[in-house]
Symmetry: C2
Subunit: 493 residues, 2 copies
């Protein structure tokens, strides 16, 4: 249980993440990844790619630009529909997202409600500006895309993409041909997306520039069902909060009769990612079904991935599992005139899309939130594969050749793992520094090392130490970091 | 020797790279990376990180946003100085970058010349619009940054960053503290940068949105010189074109007396990257010293990395080695009021910056350009570490259990390498497809495999084949792909 202020302070001091351009006061909604945050982010992305692209040999990364031309986002519906309701205070001119201010002042969740209806609520309840008690202006729709001009004439309008997905939809047919017409086909991307939030709060949870990792899977329901049936593990359990129910249930996916198998399969895969690879406990993960009011009209089925984060006050969305039907390719076919259909059994069919969508920054924050312990000592519990450093090496003292010996050990470990060498301060202080950034193992070189070639390995979780010979050090660390080995196990071997 | 049209056609057809949002006609200066291009790009970035961050344990990645607030770019000088001279045709209204149109019409390189001087040249030579022979307008300065509004009020102006570097400068002091005041300190980043080019041409060479990989090294000359002296290999040779000279010389860096050792050291490192890791031949690489007119005023020493590319008509810049003195940190200290100096021997000193800057897209294009051969057959020669796939596996025929056997071989190889499995068409056609995308080795499973557990490995370069036992296949491929092993060598073992 960590509060936001405490976690933000550690993140800033140690080099994980902090508000961007802060020497100039910055702008709300932008964050920098420092040297540890960058490692955590890169590691998370590698694990994500390995896991989700590992599902099928025909799932691939692509990269597309942040700037999109007007027509692409007109076609996708973002030019007309991607807006929030804006209201500002007539006295102090502070801007508010209207649904958020109603939520703050009344406790009612009115997400998705239109501008006029919200205006009614503001008036009828005589709601006032929380900072100066001024009256609110009329509501207006505010498009959340950043717009810009491409080239010098002002005639070519563009936008920063509000999601990474459009690049994969627009490339569907070109990749379908380049990949020799195999289906299902998955196109994934990791990159920035931009939303000009009215007043972003909640740290890295709601950013104006953020990172998304998305996988769009193109398939034809009824035709590729057998493909998913073969992969499907019907006994895999997921924690679900169904629409209209109050309690989370932990159920095998085979019991979700009303959901198609391709959807159940992906629910299970996403759950597996969070539990087995992000190593989050079951009680911190749930897949929440959105109500018809909450979900976008083109999403036929929509569950959000939610993680319980104490720093953000409870369950927070970190990803979504969207069955979008043929909405996206149909829209792009209509607007561009480019064929998006494929031949299936003599007919032309527009493929459907399963979209697995993740907010990278939110996921990084979830790992830090769920992993940070500050009760007896400050330490971070994150998956070994995610940790900025796998192992640290300390010389016990700075004399008698111990420094040199520790550097030899470091050099060998560093060519196999992400290793860190530290000679400053007491060993206790050095352990504490590594605890705080989640380095799972610390190796200390001492006087005994000079005699018998052994070193200690200290475990972050139990604080226990074992002594191993340098000749087996790489193997032991390897099985601890990447293998199934449990610390202290090898004594009983 | 490949021409641009041919290479662009292969890139499009096979899935490397193509103009973005093309189903809507796109906008000039934006490209997508398809599934093979994405692998090539990711591999290039990994090799870049391994090499340049491998120089020192105190060199680190950080990531900062694409959107920067007005003040940051005002301080850096981009708001006032980052412009090109724009001119348009009074008849057909086509816009031109004025120095480019003078170059095109007169052959004279006037890069860096001011608006008024260029206007004189246009008038005196009576230069006309090349597409309609119309008269040119007056020249004007056109700022190349994309500007945008942050938030709903229009009062917070921002820009898309024109280079990735400012994020590292602004974070200097925070990272200096987080990294416990060790110097030299390197902050690297890979990410997008944006320049609103007047009329981008030359494919991926001049983009409006592009990728940069930059390493900024903070150090104090006179204090950290011994650090570089220890690392320095004085006999390492580089191919240099000095300012004012006509001929490239291949010289050991120790002969470059007038350059400081920290600069010579980095010249050699960059050269090593291109020759040893990108595996480009010496004759395709040169480090060109910029003249005083060409180089920015804050760069005390500036060599560009240039690669000879037939598709772009000769030597083209792919990177730069900039000694920027204390310009950047001094400017940010002045404008932000945030201290950027560090204590050195009792005094406060503002560190200097060595900047190693690379255009990722240009580097990818250089690999494709230099590696593509189309004389007798179409094949791509790129470093094994960069190749989208290390190895392909083919079943000779689709019957008698050969498919299943080849899938077993594929599965084993795929858990060790980037592997590809292909059963379609003749083996000759399958070789040809792998040749075109630079897959160095192809393994074929045939009837003999069923008898004696052997397969053939075919080498892309020589087209020769060897036969090895499946039990040693992973080791052989490993030493071929990552080791020093030369194809066919193991017969003589």
């Amino acid at each position: 249980m960590v509060d936001r202020e405490e976690l933000e302070s550690v993140c800033k001091r140690r080099g994980f993440i902090w508000p961007s351009s802060e020497i100039y006061g910055g702008e709300a909604g932008f964050y920098d990844y420092g040297h540890l945050g960058a490692r955590l982010k890169d590691n998370w992305e590698d694990i994500w790619k390995d896991f989700f692209l590992g599902i099928d040999d025909n799932y691939h990364m692509i990269y597309t630009p942040n700037i999109l031309p007007y027509r692409a986002l007109k076609a996708s519906g973002h030019v007309d529909l991607f807006s929030d309701v804006l209201v500002h205070c007539m006295r102090c001119s502070e801007s508010y997202r209207a649904d958020h201010i109603v939520m703050e002042l009344t406790g009612n969740n009115i997400e998705g409600m239109g501008a006029e209806e919200i205006e009614d609520i503001l008036e009828k309840n005589d709601l006032r500006c929380p900072s100066c008690n001024g009256v609110f202006s009329e509501t207006e729709d505010f498009n959340m895309m950043f717009s810009l001009n491409i080239g010098p004439t002002g005639e070519h309008k563009g936008f920063l993409r509000p999601e990474t997905a459009q690049g994969t939809y627009m490339n569907f047919f070109r990749e379908y041909r380049a990949l020799r017409r195999q289906m299902p086909m998955g196109l994934a991307t990791i990159g920035s997306a931009f939303r000009n939030e009215i007043s972003p709060r909640q740290g890295v949870y709601r950013l104006r520039e953020f990172l998304q990792a998305e996988l769009q899977i193109f398939f034809v329901p009824g035709v590729h069902d057998t493909y998913y049936e073969e992969l499907y593990d019907e006994d895999q359990k997921v924690r679900l909060l169904r629409d209209g129910e109050d309690e989370v249930k932990f159920v095998p996916v085979k019991e979700l009769d009303e959901l198609p198998i391709f959807y159940r399969y992906h629910l299970a895969k996403v759950y597996e990612f969070y539990h087995d690879h992000m190593e989050l406990p079951h009680e911190s993960i749930r897949l929440r079904e959105l109500s018809d009011e909450e979900k976008a009209f083109y999403n036929l089925i929509h569950f959000d991935v939610e993680i319980s984060m104490s720093s953000l006050g409870g369950w927070k969305e970190v990803g979504g599992i969207h069955y979008r039907g043929d909405y996206d390719l149909t829209k792009h076919q209509e607007e561009s005139g480019t064929k998006m259909s494929i031949p299936i059994e003599g007919e032309r069919v527009i493929p459907h899309v399963m979209e697995l969508s993740f907010g990278v920054d939110r996921n990084i924050w979830a790992l830090l939130d769920c992993g940070y312990h500050s009760k007896d000592r400050d330490w971070l519990s994150i998956p070994n594969k995610c940790a900025p450093y796998h192992v640290a090496v300390f010389p016990l003292v700075r004399k008698d050749g111990i420094i040199e010996r520790s550097l030899d050990v470091f050099t060998e470990l560093n060519s196999n793992f992400r290793a860190f060498w530290d000679k400053s301060g007491s060993v206790g202080k050095r352990y504490a520094r590594m605890d705080e950034i989640g380095t799972p193992y610390c190796v200390t070189v001492d006087y005994d090392t000079l005699d018998d070639d052994t070193v200690t390995i200290r475990d972050i979780k139990s604080k226990e130490q074992i002594r191993v010979n340098i000749s087996e050090l790489v193997d032991v660390i390897d099985s601890l970091v990447f293998g199934e080995k449990v610390f202290n196990d090898h004594f009983s071997e």
